[in-house]
């Protein structure tokens, strides 16, 4: 409502006379903060003042002359009339409260006083209504109440705060302290007021506080660490944060200080610092070299011991890599270490250890033992690589001296034994003339004892070299079947002599093993079993897959071993029954050697026995784990070949050659082993040397052909003889010696092709490949699968497919490069191709994809039935045009 409307008195002209009472009445009416409304006896508003206009939300001109009912809109006219007459008759003027809804919708609470106007003649002149808005009053009351609550809340917070809170005046005297601050300083709360902060702050720290407090007084907020002297003299560490504190008049009157107790933290820090100092002194003075390498591979610290071991100054080593310990001429070793450190960082192993030759700065050749581990921070993140380096030159020298001693002793003992054994052998053999029986008997004793002495020396040396690690294991994946058949073959002669049958029982599994050592172990155990077996009994050798290992068992039906000796038989020179064992010619070291060999393989060896019924010696070896699905796929796709040759070097060369050409390779050193492996693995083709010890190549081939489960495996022989000279039945082809790679691969490819019709499916989608395979297999083809172009060309070396099914989009390129490569290979250049692709191809593209008969199918557009029809058409064509090789 604007000022122009503030002229209420004009509406009331003529209401009263022009006397002072009237004028005061006019003024009251016009300027009262209460709303005043005059109503005549019939309920018509005759006047209302500006306060009423504001309160009721109407202009006077809109109401004056109108019925009062406008102001009580929720009552009917009759109710208003009745109310008026009721009010007019009342004599008391007590206020009452009521609600009023303003035209803008706001509901306000009113205190209303009605004063009846009575003329001197006693007649009614109407009513004066005085109304006051109670809402404003209530609002300010509520605000006062909430202010009180809020102060109580802040007080409670300050009182119970874990931080010490104080207010200092400009002279840094305490004007307020919460209980916590008093407790921190060790004063009763009441003694805090007036305490000068300057007197409790350590003098050394005062200089850092004063400027902060000064800036606090100027309105800045800062924090610092200070030491406070508690009342009892002890030290209180605190972080103090200051903030300006407003005084009464709104200007800054002092500084609020917030004190955080950091005494415990300071204590921990000091402990850590002491511990770090201690560690640093270890680092400096420990007699082993330490090299710290950052995660990005740079040497960040070395200790004095490392400098004195290597002869290099600290600065010469810093900034290099871990390879500073290797010297420049060990690229292979550097690569090896890079791989090991990678494994370390990935958490695959906790540490690794190397023995490393090293040339010091002054040219001395020394040996280092380097243990490398990873330091992690408290969150487990890699921090630094730590290499602990020891000079082991003197240990290495001692080892070398011992090795030489062992070697020389071995030679020196055997040399006279050779002459003794030779001379005795010639005598007992009757070579130098017949001897009387009594002399013959004595010589036999001498020969037996000499043989035993020789075995003893051999066993002692074996055990010595095994325990010292001098004989390192040449681990490879071995078929348990092959190991057992070789060991059984080796011992068969001795078994026949005492009429004990040695039989290979059920055999399963591939193990990580040094084949020579495991055959030595098996021979030893079987030899033992034979020695303690009665005539005409059986010794059974078996191998069973048991979880992550293969358990080999040698079971005899001898007299058994008492339970209390089942452990001790594995100790050196321990015998169940001394007289018994010696009579059997044992050295007492065989089982100790077996145990050493097995334990070095990470296996376990033990004996179980039933007295009178027999003994079973068992040992375990870690199984070769086929890793995951990919490997399974590979195995299914790669053609497999069994290479049988007694010459280890040839086996190795051929294996390497064939693996590089996409074959999966198993090896066997004898005909017996070949038969066992062929049965266990069913390879796609067998490469067989004809000149073999034991059963020779020809017998082996015949045995393979005679065995139902191996009869269909094509055999390629390795021989210097021509096919006619060999006259062996069922041989697929012959490869001469020395072996030429091209000739060998061609022979194997042809042998494979002769055995099966094959399709090479090049498709990276496993589901699609599966569907294709099922279809092709139903049509009698053996399927080789490749997921990439690289795999396709690898398999292409190993076989001549009767059909190539090619997906154009491959993970490592497109099918064009596969076809181009195949076109270059004489044996692949006319292979029929079925290109199976998601794209429609231009004629030029199609021409780039042609080898032999080539057909194109579009993925998704060719219904399965049509695809199969096309495939059959193709296969018919293949069968007609490409006769069996």
């Amino acid at each position: 409502m604007d000022a122009g409307d503030n002229e209420g008195h004009t509406y009331s002209a003529g209401r009263l006379g022009d006397d002072p009472d009237r004028l005061r009445g006019e003024a009251l009416f016009a300027y009262s903060s209460d709303a005043i409304v005059d109503i005549d006896p019939v309920g018509v508003i005759t006047a209302l003042n500006p306060a009423a206009e504001r309160l009721f939300g109407y202009h006077a001109r809109d109401l004056v002359g109108g019925p009062v009912g406008v102001l009580v809109p929720d009552r009917s006219a009759e109710e208003v009339a009745s109310l008026l007459s009721d009010l007019a008759g009342r004599r008391d003027t007590e206020p009452y409260t009521t609600n009023y809804r303003r035209p803008d919708g706001e509901v306000i609470e009113l205190s209303v006083t009605t004063v009846p106007l009575v003329c001197t003649d006693g007649s009614s002149a109407g009513l004066t209504v005085i109304a006051r808005d109670l809402t404003v009053l209530h609002r300010s009351q509520a605000s006062l109440a909430s202010l009180a609550t809020s102060e109580a809340r802040y007080r409670a917070m300050v009182e119970s705060a874990h931080e010490g809170i104080g207010v200092l005046d400009a002279g840094l005297r305490v004007v307020f302290s919460n209980p916590r601050l008093a407790a921190m300083l060790g004063y009763p709360l009441e003694e805090m007021i007036g305490l000068e902060m300057g007197s409790v702050i350590f003098p050394e720290d005062a200089p850092s506080l004063t400027p902060i407090a000064a800036r606090g007084l100027r309105g800045q907020t800062e924090q610092t660490e200070i030491r406070l002297r508690r009342k009892d003299g002890s030290t209180q560490w605190a972080i103090i944060a200051t903030a300006p504190f407003p005084g009464e008049d709104g200007v800054i009157g002092g500084v609020a200080g917030f004190f955080t107790d950091i005494t415990d933290r300071k204590h921990t820090e000091r402990t850590l610092q002491e511990s770090e100092t201690r560690l640093r002194s270890y680092f400096e003075y420990v007699p082993v070299g330490i090299l710290l390498v950052s995660r990005d591979g740079l040497v960040v610290n070395v200790n004095p011991a490392l400098c004195s071991i290597t002869g290099y100054e600290r600065d010469e080593l810093l900034g290099g890599g871990l390879s500073v310990l290797l010297g420049p001429d060990h690229p292979a070793r550097i690569e090896e270490i890079r791989v090991l450190v990678g494994a370390l960082l990935r958490g695959e192993m906790p540490s690794f250890e190397l023995e490393q030759p090293f040339v010091t700065k002054d040219g001395r050749r020394i040996w280092l033992d380097v243990t490398v581990s990873l330091m992690r921070d408290e969150l487990g993140e890699p921090l630094e690589v730590v290499a602990v380096v020891q000079d082991i030159t003197s240990r290495k020298d001692a080892e070398r001296v011992k090795d030489e001693f062992v070697s020389v002793t071995s030679h020196e003992l055997r040399t006279p034994l050779t002459s003794i054994r030779g001379a005795l052998g010639l005598l007992t053999g009757g070579v130098v003339g017949d001897l009387p029986d009594s002399a013959q008997r004595m010589l036999d004793i001498a020969v037996q004892s000499t043989d035993r002495l020789i075995r003893l020396i051999n066993d002692i040396l074996d055990l010595e070299r095994l325990s010292s690690g001098k004989l390192s294991l040449a681990l490879e994946a071995c078929e348990a079947a092959g190991l057992i058949s070789r060991a059984v073959e080796e011992i068969r002669g001795a078994a026949d002599e005492v009429e004990v049958e040695v039989r290979a029982g059920s055999v399963d599994g591939r193990v990580w093993a040094d084949p020579d050592r495991i055959i030595q172990t098996l021979t030893n155990l079987v030899g033992n079993a034979i020695k303690f077996s009665p005539r005409s009994t059986t010794v059974e050798v078996s191998a069973q897959l048991e979880g992550d290992h293969v358990r080999f068992a040698v079971e005899d039906h001898g007299q058994g071993i008492p339970a209390d000796q089942l452990e001790t038989v594995f100790e050196r020179f321990q015998q169940v029954d001394a007289s018994d064992s010696r009579a059997k010619g044992g050295t007492g070291l065989g089982l100790a050697i077996c145990r050493t060999i097995v334990e070095q393989h990470g296996g376990r060896i033990w004996a179980e026995s039933v007295l009178g019924a027999g003994t079973t010696f068992s040992f375990t070896l870690p199984v070769v784990v086929d890793t995951g699905e990919a490997d399974l796929d590979d195995r299914r796709s790669e053609p497999s070949v069994l290479v049988c040759d007694d010459d280890a070097a040839i086996r190795e060369v051929v294996k390497t050659m064939l693996e590089a050409s996409g074959y999966r390779v198993w090896t066997a050193a004898s005909g017996e082993e070949a038969l066992a492996v062929a049965r266990a693995r069913h390879p796609d083709v067998i490469l067989l040397d004809l000149l073999l010890p034991g059963i020779d190549g020809r017998e082996t081939a015949n045995a393979l052909k005679g065995q139902e489960d191996t009869a269909d495996i094509p055999v390629v022989v390795l021989s210097v003889l021509t096919a006619e000279q060999m006259a062996v039945e069922g041989i697929a082809s012959r490869v001469g010696k020395p072996i030429e790679e091209d000739v060998l691969l061609t022979a194997l490819r042809n042998a494979l092709g002769g055995a099966h019709r094959q399709a090479l499916v090049v498709e990276d989608d496993p589901q699609l490949a599966e569907v294709l395979e099922v279809t092709l297999v139903r049509h009698g083809l053996k399927v080789r699968r490749a997921r990439t172009g690289r795999e396709a060309t690898r398999l292409g070396r190993a076989l001549v497919p009767d059909l190539l099914v090619l997906d154009l989009a491959l993970p490592d390129g497109d099918g064009y490069s596969v076809v181009e490569w195949m076109r270059e290979q004489p044996w692949l250049s006319t292979v029929p191709v079925l290109v199976y692709t998601a794209f429609d191809l231009e004629e030029a593209d199609r021409n780039r994809l042609r080898l032999g008969e080539t057909k194109f199918l579009t993925k998704g557009r060719t219904p399965p039935a049509l695809f199969e029809a096309k495939l059959e058409e193709m296969l018919d064509w293949v069968a007609q045009k490409a006769p069996r090789r």
Binding site: S407, S410, H411, R414, T415, P416, L417, T418, S419, I420, R421, G422, A423, G425, L426, G429, V431, V432, T450, I454, N458, D462, D516, Q520, A648, A649, L691
Partner: protein
């Protein structure tokens, strides 16, 4: 060039006189071969060139030219390169022969040997 089996000539190189004697008796009496002997690598090289034996049995540990060094000289000289050489050694076990055949030897036999079997073992190694 190959002679009838009965007149095979074998050169035995070993510094140990007693071993030479035992082995010689064994090879002559059991094998029926003609045996030449030499007590050192140097002497052996001379006899190999002069006599061109059918095979050489060679000790490994000898003073002066040792077995491997003697083998290397034999293989380097065209006059003797084709003569098969079998190591006869007390230095290794039978199972460790691989490293020796790698040097170009036809095979390895270990000492002490059984004199009744020595000739057969040599013949087996050489394919005689």
């Amino acid at each position: 060039m190959t002679r009838p089996a009965l007149t095979r000539r074998v050169l035995l190189i070993d510094d140990e006189e007693l071993i030479r004697e035992v082995a010689e008796v064994s090879l002559v009496k059991i094998g029926g071969w003609e045996v030449l002997t030499a007590s050192s690598g140097e002497e052996g090289l001379g006899k190999a060139v002069a006599e061109h034996p059918d095979a050489i049995l060679l000790d490994v540990m000898m003073p002066g030219l040792d077995g491997p060094a003697t083998l290397a000289r034999l293989k380097a000289d065209p006059a003797t390169a084709t003569i098969p050489v079998v190591f006869l050694t007390a230095k290794v076990r039978q199972s460790e022969q691989r490293q020796w055949t790698d040097l170009g030897a036809a095979g390895v036999l270990v000492k002490p040997f059984d004199p009744m079997l020595l000739a057969k073992q040599v013949a087996d190694v050489l394919g005689w």
